[in-house]
Amino acid sequence: MSSIDLIGLGKSFNAVTAVKDLTLSVRDKEFIALLGPSGCGKTTTMNMIAGIETPTTGEIRFNGIDISRIAPNRRNIGFVFQNYAIFTHLSVFENLAFALRVRRLARREIDRRVREIAALMQLSDRLDWPSSRLSVNEMQKLAIGRSAIAEPAIFLLDEPLSNVDAAFRVFMRAELKRIQRTLQQTMVYVTHDQTEAMSLADRIAVLDRGLLQQFDTPAAVYNRPRNTFVARFMGSPAMNLLEGNLVGLNGAMVFEAGAKGRLRLDLGEAERLANAGAKQRILLGIRPEDILLARPDAGEEGLTLPINFIEPIGPRTILHLGDSAAELKVVTGKRVPYRIGEAVKLVMPAERRRYFDPASGLSLDAGGERSGQHGQA
C-alpha cells in the first residue's frame, strides 16, 4: 500500500525533453492511467517511478518519503510489460512461485499463494503446463499473476494489453478491474488507448509532448476536456470541434458557422463565455453521441449538413456529415432512418456544448480543470 507523489518531475535525454515539470499525486490504492500518444512521456514517467530512469529534475515520493536514491529492486514495485517476461522453460506454477522462492518463503505458503493467484487469473488448470504451451492471452494473465503474487505496494503496467487480440482486450479490461478490486494495490497503467484508460482508471493523466494536459476522473476528462488536445484524444470518434464566430443578433448571442447555419446561445452560456473572455472566433465542441438528428424542416434550430458516409458498427452507427470530407461525426443507434446524400438538422443541447479558444486551444468553460464542479466558477 502506497501513495505516490511526483513533484516537478522532469527528464531530458541530451537535448530532448521527454517529461517536463510533472506534478501529480496518486492516492493509496488508486488506479491511475498515464495516457497519451507515442512520445508523450508516459513510459519515461513510469520508468522514473520504477527507478529505471533517473529524473533530471524534481522528486518522487512514496508515502511521503523521497525514494530517488533507493534502488529499483528495493522500491517494492511490481512490473508488467507489454512483452511479458515469462520464463518459458519453467512451468506455470514455477513462474508464479518465482518471486516467493527468491524471498525464501515456506513451501506450504508458496503453494497456497500460487493456487490463490492462479484461481484469480483463471489459470488453475494450467499450473503443471510448461508456460511455453500457453496462448498469448494466457501468457499475459501469467505475467500479471507473476507480478501480483509478490504483493508489491505499487503495481506498474506498461501497455499490458497492446499485444493481445481485440476480443481478448475487451475481456481482459474487465478482468483487470476485477483483479484490482481483489488486490487493492496502487496501480499505474501506461497506455495510448483512451478506451483502456477510461474503462480502468480512477483518474487519468493525459500527457502530450512531455506536458501534463489534464489529470482527473474519466468522466471529467471526457465531459470537460481542459483543451482541444484532450477533447480530440478522448472518445471514439473524437469530440467534434467546429470553428465559427460569436455574433450578436437581435439582442441574443449566436454561434455562426457559415453555410452550415447558426445556433442561438443560452443566456447562461453567453454570460459564461463573456466572463471567460471569449473572442469573436471560437471553437464549438460537442461529442458525437450528444448530437440529436432531425429532418431539415423540423422546427428546432440547428446546423444543417448532408450525410456523406454511414458506418454501422453493431450496437451503434457512426454518421459522417459534411459536403466532402467529414466535418462532423454523429453516433446514433443501430437503425438509421437516413441515407447518404440526405441533409439532416443537428440539434445540440446547450448543456452538452463546450467552447474553446482557437488560438490557445484552452477550454472557455469555467470549471474545466476541476471535476464535479459542473462549470460553476
Binding site: A167, A174, A219
Partner: protein, 362 residues
C-alpha cells in the same frame, strides 16, 4: 474490375488443413471482408487468389477464368500487406512510381498517375520524403498508392491498418472505403477486428478453422447469425450466452433467475439463450416481476456508453448502456429486454434455432 471466386477449394500445409472446402464468390466492385480469429485461414485465401499458393483441391477463378497454371504476375491483382515493404532509400514518389517504371511506362504517364494517386490519398505534399521520415499512417498510404497506380483488376489487403494506432485506424478505414467507392474496384480485405469489418464491408465472410461459416452483409451477420460462433465473434463486448431450458416457448435458466416468455415455436429441451449487451436495458425506477435482477460487479465507463457487468446468481451478463449511468459497485439492478432481441442456440452444435430468419442465411 473483377469477380473473384473459389470453388470447393482446400489447402493443407504439411498435412494440416489451412482451408477446407471453401466456396466463395466476391462480386465485381464489392468491398468484401474476410473476418475470423488468428490463423483461421484468412490469409491463405488471399494467397490462393494471388497464385502464391496452389489449391490441393478445387478451382480458383478470376472473372470466371480458371487460374490453374497462371503465374502470380499475370493475374493482375494488387496486394497490400501489414508489413509494407517500401524501399527505404527511395522517396515516397519513387516508391509509388516503381511498378510503372518496371513496366516501362512513359514518363508523362508515370507523373500523371502518381499525382492522381497522391491526391486521392492526401499525400501530395509528402512525395519527396523517404519512408523513414513518414509516420506509420503516411507510410501505409504510400504502400496503397503503389498499388493504385497499377490500376489492377482487384485489390487484396491483409490487415493493412492493424499496426496503426486506434485513432488512425478509425480514419483510415473510412478513407479506404471512400477510395474503393471512387475507384469502383473489387477489394478483398482480411481483418481480425470485427468493428473494422462491420464498418466497411459491403459483404463479409466469417471463418472458423479453415471453413467459411457464414457470408452476408454486416447487418445480416450481426442480426441473423447462423450459429453461436458467429453470434459471439461479431459484436463487442460479445453476445451474452446463458444455458437453460425451453418449455412451451419460454426460457428458464438453471438457477431460475432468468425467465423469459419468448413465444419461440421450437421443441422443448435444453437451449442456449443469446442476448446482445445493448439489448439489455437498466430499469429506472420500479422493476417488473419478469425483469432480471442482479448486482453490479464491474463498471467500465467509455464516455459515449458504459459497459456494466451484472452478476445474476452465478451468471455474468454484460450490458452496454448508453451514456454515463450513475451506478455503484454491488448495487442491485433490474434488467429489461425485448423477447424479439433474443436468440436461441442448440447447445450441442451451436446452430441458431430461433429466430427462424437466422437459419436460411448459411
Amino acid at each position: 474490375m473483377a469477380r473473384l471466386e473459389l470453388e470447393g477449394v482446400s489447402k493443407a500445409y504439411g498435412g494440416i488443413a489451412a482451408v477446407s472446402d471453401v466456396d466463395l464468390t466476391v462480386e465485381d466492385n464489392e468491398f468484401f471482408c474476410i473476418f475470423g480469429p488468428p490463423s483461421c485461414g484468412k490469409t491463405t485465401l488471399l494467397k490462393l487468389w494471388l497464385g502464391l499458393r496452389q489449391p490441393d483441391r478445387g478451382r480458383v477463378l478470376i472473372d470466371r477464368r480458371d487460374m490453374a497454371g497462371i503465374l502470380p504476375g499475370e493475374r493482375d491483382l494488387a496486394m497490400v500487406f501489414q508489413n509494407l515493404a517500401l524501399f527505404p532509400h527511395m522517396s515516397a514518389k519513387e516508391n509509388i512510381a516503381f511498378p510503372l517504371r518496371e513496366r516501362g511506362a512513359p514518363a508523362a504517364e508515370i507523373e500523371r498517375r502518381v499525382a492522381d494517386a497522391a491526391n486521392r490519398l492526401h499525400i501530395a505534399p509528402l512525395l519527396h520524403k523517404n519512408p523513414g521520415q513518414l509516420s506509420g499512417g503516411e507510410r501505409q498510404r504510400v504502400a496503397i498508392g503503389r498499388t493504385l497506380v497499377r490500376d489492377p483488376r482487384a485489390f487484396l489487403m491483409d490487415e493493412p491498418i492493424a499496426a496503426l494506432d486506434a485513432r488512425l485506424r478509425e480514419e483510415m478505414r473510412v478513407e479506404l472505403k471512400r477510395l474503393q467507392r471512387e475507384l469502383r474496384h473489387t477489394l478483398i480485405y482480411v481483418t481480425h477486428d470485427q468493428e473494422e469489418a462491420m464498418s466497411i464491408a459491403d459483404r463479409m465472410a466469417i471463418m472458423r478453422e479453415g471453413r467459411i461459416v457464414q457470408t452476408g452483409t454486416p447487418d445480416e451477420i450481426y442480426n441473423a447469425p447462423v450459429d453461436r460462433y458467429v453470434a459471439t465473434l461479431v459484436g463487442s463486448p460479445p453476445m451474452n450466452v446463458v444455458g437453460g431450458r425451453l418449455s412451451n416457448g419460454s426460457f428458464r435458466d438453471a438457477e431460475g433467475r432468468i425467465s423469459l416468455a419468448l413465444a419461440a415455436d421450437c421443441p422443448d429441451g435444453p437451449v442456449d439463450l443469446g442476448i446482445r449487451p445493448e439489448d439489455l436495458h437498466l430499469v429506472a425506477g420500479e422493476a417488473a416481476p419478469q425483469d432480471i435482477r442482479g448486482e453490479v460487479q464491474v463498471i467500465e465507463p467509455l464516455g459515449a456508453f458504459t459497459i456494466v457487468d451484472v452478476m445474476v446468481g452465478a451468471t455474468l451478463l454484460r450490458i452496454d448502456a448508453p451514456g454515463q449511468p450513475d451506478l455503484r459497485l454491488d448495487q442491485p439492478v433490474a434488467l429489461k429486454l425485448r423477447p424479439d432481441a433474443c436468440y436461441l442456440f442448440n447447445p450441442a452444435d451451436g446452430r441458431t434455432i430461433w429466430p427462424h430468419r437466422c437459419q436460411t442465411r448459411r
